[in-house]
Symmetry: D2
Subunit: 383 residues, 4 copies
């Protein structure tokens, strides 16, 4: 990653996913896209508001939230003062693009109508992330109400699906609204930490042990999220059943190229922990490689995979979540254990930006032909 943004130009017109300095032929670069946010009252909704208020090519035209109709946004998100924005019951008619930050199942009910109305949808929930509708039964326990849209949706991880996002941009310019399924926070961290290995089929066996701050669990006042319960404690949760397992397995499987396959990408062992912090995720991937590799080879895989990525940094030292706090950056680090040949692959990100709102905006930028880093150039906050 370079701070000025990597080069992500496409060979064909329109130029989409261009960097800030480059031009873009979409008129979005010269006017503002009118967006609405549905699910504006939660932590992810608040982060979307914060980022989009400073996005140079966006105008927020509507906020929609549960049971808070008419409330000024600062009564819900006190950090956002002086905007004049309030929460409404309905999406405004002039919204071109809709961000959905809703619990699973809720988006699937709404998306068909939104697409029908020619709105582009950036869904931050899980309802369109999985390609196989059977996976919804397995991981979410519900029958998907719009399985015909699963093929149309693009998994909004630009590092792995930029081509599809760019195609969606072209389709959008041609009149077909885009449907982006923005990845989960654990999934993003795990997939990007492991993708360079998965591409060549190196994942012979995989344990992902992840640690998350509390904001990933949402804003609802639950007993488990009481400060007195979280502070000075760590625990594992969702043992064997975390819903992001489906995404991770799918994407690691799809990442394999040129006939490669990853025997360990099915039936992975994923264990999330809640740790006493508000922000950030660290995922440690413990890989038994499918064949013997050395450190130089692993480094080469990571460097090549991410050389041009504007938001991925490959680090020489184990990264801390603090290093990316508040930014859209993900840092990844991979090492071969000289004793036993295992590969350790670590990823860290800030769950509300690269793990949610920022990544969604990154995909939004691509499907609107905007510079991919528009509105996302904040540096991490320290300490």
């Amino acid at each position: 990653m370079s701070a000025s943004g990597g080069s992500v130009t496409a060979a064909v017109e329109p130029t989409v996913g261009a960097t800030e300095s480059a031009g873009a032929i979409d008129d979005a670069a010269t006017r503002k896209v009118r967006v609405a946010i549905v699910g504006a009252t939660g932590y992810v909704g608040g982060e979307l508001i914060r980022l989009l208020l400073r996005h140079p090519h966006v105008e927020i035209v509507g906020l929609v939230g549960r049971g808070r109709q008419g409330d000024a946004v600062e009564t819900i998100h006190p950090h956002v003062a002086g905007t004049g924005l309030a929460v409404h019951a309905e999406i405004p008619v002039d919204a071109e693009t809709v961000f959905l930050a809703l619990p699973h199942g809720a988006a699937a009910e709404r998306v068909p109508d939104l697409l029908e109305g020619a709105r582009t949808v950036i869904d931050l929930g899980p309802d369109f992330r999985l390609r196989d509708k059977a996976d919804y039964t397995t991981w979410y326990g519900f029958e998907h109400p719009a399985p015909e849209l699963l093929d149309r949706a693009v998994y909004g991880l630009p590092e792995l699906h930029r081509d599809e996002l760019q195609q969606a941009a072209r389709d959008r310019f041609a009149g077909t609204p885009a449907l982006v399924a923005s990845p989960g926070c654990y999934a993003t961290t795990s997939i990007l930490a492991l993708a360079p290995l998965a591409r060549v089929g190196l994942i012979g066996d995989l344990v992902v042990d992840a640690k998350s701050g509390v904001s990933g669990a949402g804003r609802d006042a639950k007993p488990d999220l009481h400060f007195g319960e979280v502070n000075e404690s760590v625990k594992a949760y969702a043992v064997f059943t975390h819903r992001h397992i489906g995404e991770i397995e799918q994407e690691l499987r799809l990442a394999a190229r040129d006939g490669a396959s990853n025997p360990g990408a099915s039936g992975i062992d994923f264990l999330p922990h809640l740790i006493p912090m508000t922000r950030g995720i660290l995922a440690a991937g413990h890989v038994r490689p499918a064949w013997t590799v050395d450190q130089a080879e692993v480094e080469r895989l990571y460097t090549e995979a991410y050389a041009d990525e504007p938001f991925v940094t490959v680090t020489a030292q184990p990264p801390a979540t603090k290093h990316v706090l508040g930014s859209n950056e993900i840092r990844v680090h991979a090492r071969v254990d000289p004793r036993n040949g295992r590969i350790l692959a670590i990823g860290v990100l800030y769950n509300l930006v690269k793990g949610a709102a920022g990544q969604a905006i990154q995909a939004f930028n691509i499907v609107h032909g905007l510079p991919e880093d528009a509105g996302l150039r904040q540096l991490p906050l320290a300490p």
Copy 2:
């Protein structure tokens, strides 16, 4: 405060302190000011780097730091990756303006030479904040080596000294480099929380009870700042002797207008506490008013004082430090106790931005004729 920045235009040319949207006649608006940061390895230095890297009218040409010559900035501030910046032993010759983030006493030794060399100085330390050299003996226990500069220095609190900063801008355009003494973090919080009362002479008696996160104590590894000592604990420190008392008393005294005086602005009772968080300061001013006032009158004083300020928000509810995390905003809140007539005035800010680097940049902007909010428009991070 309005999110888009208040109007701070001056009546005379050159237009200084203009908002982002307004023009400014200084060429700084069209080219980049070349700045150096001395003391670049600490927390304040790191925050200056973070903010100035994204400042639209600034180019960082040099970083100077203790004993880290030649080190890449990311080895010192891991959150700042990919800049190509490194630490050097000397200020580059082409630096026009120098930010100093040094322990007390160190800036006083360097500033005369810097001004001699026609560099504008933004000093984030205390060496030029106090107007009376005797106060340095009282509060810092040192003999000021350059007392003749104390009159020339401007106390860099735009809300109280904008006129002087604008005059310094004009002087600077005329060839006299500016010397800005950027206020301390506790001082900023306390003074801005209390200034509307001080202006009219309402401070009959004053207790300021303040609470700070750890980053205000600096980055050095001291036993008292070990996580194990700070976490899950609160304590008072620097009892009766905190060095910001001098600043607070000076500025509350000077704030009085039209012949008003504040009997309680001398010999104030200031008690700081270290609380288990990294970022933020809250100061609670407990005021026994010089005469009886009611809530409406107090609200009027605050509203009038800060109506046009781009970075001050007067709140209707007691603010939390979290509400301004990472931003240059300060929130103030004032209430009259109906039982006993006392006034409570609370201020909260993020110590490294409005309490240090951000405020210094705000003053820098003014003395360079730039929009006052340039590089400072980040919204607070939540949660």
Copy 3:
């Protein structure tokens, strides 16, 4: 304070409030008192369970809690494993003494019947702390249903009311069950920090600025107590209206001896803050003395007041809440500001022990003729 407990022997029989090493004539010293805990599911209830399970002279015969009838205690308080205790709907008939940890108003409804049934009551709520029923209207907004018991109740702060607790012990042995109103957490901290000054009438004017961890706010899942809201933030709350003000004013007034009075003990300025920690309270009392005193005089007042107290330590340095974590100790520190003559008096305690369950047990011990420190000899946990 001496670690072995001070001498608190009374001149008359029965010897009550004796230290662990001394004898006590009550048979409670040789058999176990059968106690029940009502409100066993909250944080205070949990702490009572923890302490009483290891109390050498107590047997817990019943736990009563809201809506958890039949649940094993470890499903509610996971730290308490292997006890075999469960929650019941009713107080067992063989309970001699009942601890009540209930919201305000709830105890007042139950206490008359309990006393009627010859049970001694240790109430950890506020319903019997105030002597004037009008104060309940002022601070709690409710009409006290049993005002005739307010005179009978003893304010369970042994350091100020040990004589009354000992009298209650004698009455109890004579057949009249005791009613102890155990003080609030802020109240205990504030009163003990200030009582040596109040005794001689030194409080000319008083600001108490207090900081509390989250456990003092209870265990209910409220939005304000979500980890994401509390962590990395500080805010004032209950501005001008905190219910403990009534207790503090009452006790500072009553503490005055030999005709002394404290002009500042009415209409005090009390401001509580929520800080990001689970445990502990610090109260800073900013006193404008009624007459000029020096440091030696203030130290003498504190030393004399607390020389024989088993759970009060007068410190030479400002204490941290961490120093008393998990114990029944309170530390107090007083200093005269040489600049302005004000007195700073700081108290720190662990809110769930000396601020709640431990203090209640301390009073329980006295009214049962047990060693005052029985079950309370745990040293603070560090770090």
Copy 4:
């Protein structure tokens, strides 16, 4: 585990490791053992002081610490007030048993003399934990100066080596002082979480992913332990090289019984993380079993292994470190993933008690013929 302590009686005389209620033939049960603590100024030293001050069968006769000779203990450990203890340069001549809490290498230099002087040694450092001197070269990079003592030392994990500790007690009564090598904090957590599987040879492959609070890293003021660096962050450290790996591999190998062996107990993958809390360790063992097992079988292994252990609780739900805060309890939890057959084994403990001082006292009790839980019956603190 039962709260009252399990039965740990040995069949032969002397009865060692008896529970509190049982008798013990050593006179230690009727008089106090005179102990000294070397390395008394750190966190582990402080915890030894805290626990031993309340141990019914111990008298602390000496504290020895780096560069603090003559200092009262409360100036070093402010939570321990009123003891009259101070730090000395030398171990008092009348100390029978010496606890060593020293950096690696320091104990190995001192122990031969101590044993020569007929003192029993409880070493909390690593110098005598490993049986093979070559492992010291591998993991600690030093040549062991007293390899002949490695065989004599008992690895002080009562759950796995109680027989040897009891034999050491008999030898001690016969005149041979004992040398106990108390296990490391990560090692204790990992070994006890996995031992029931290791006994039968189930560990086919092993990843241990561990998370620790800061107190495990010691009290020295290091930049990495500054509150500003630790708070709101998580990172992996000591990648592939943590020194406890040697202990864990040794003990899992030795735990195998009846000819079983654990192919995965060599070359384990152990990754520690520093998380933003002061106290506690959680280790998650991800096991690929050597053969297929079901949940019932795994539960049976754990229940049988720990049924009589006074300080081990097998839980039905994933435990949190908070559940054992401040106590000598370890909780373990094991589950078979129905999707892939892997076993997850989690252990949590409080690093300064069961992970250090408490476990050392547990072994001390056994080798002195005292009740195994003497001085260790504190219940966990919550919240």
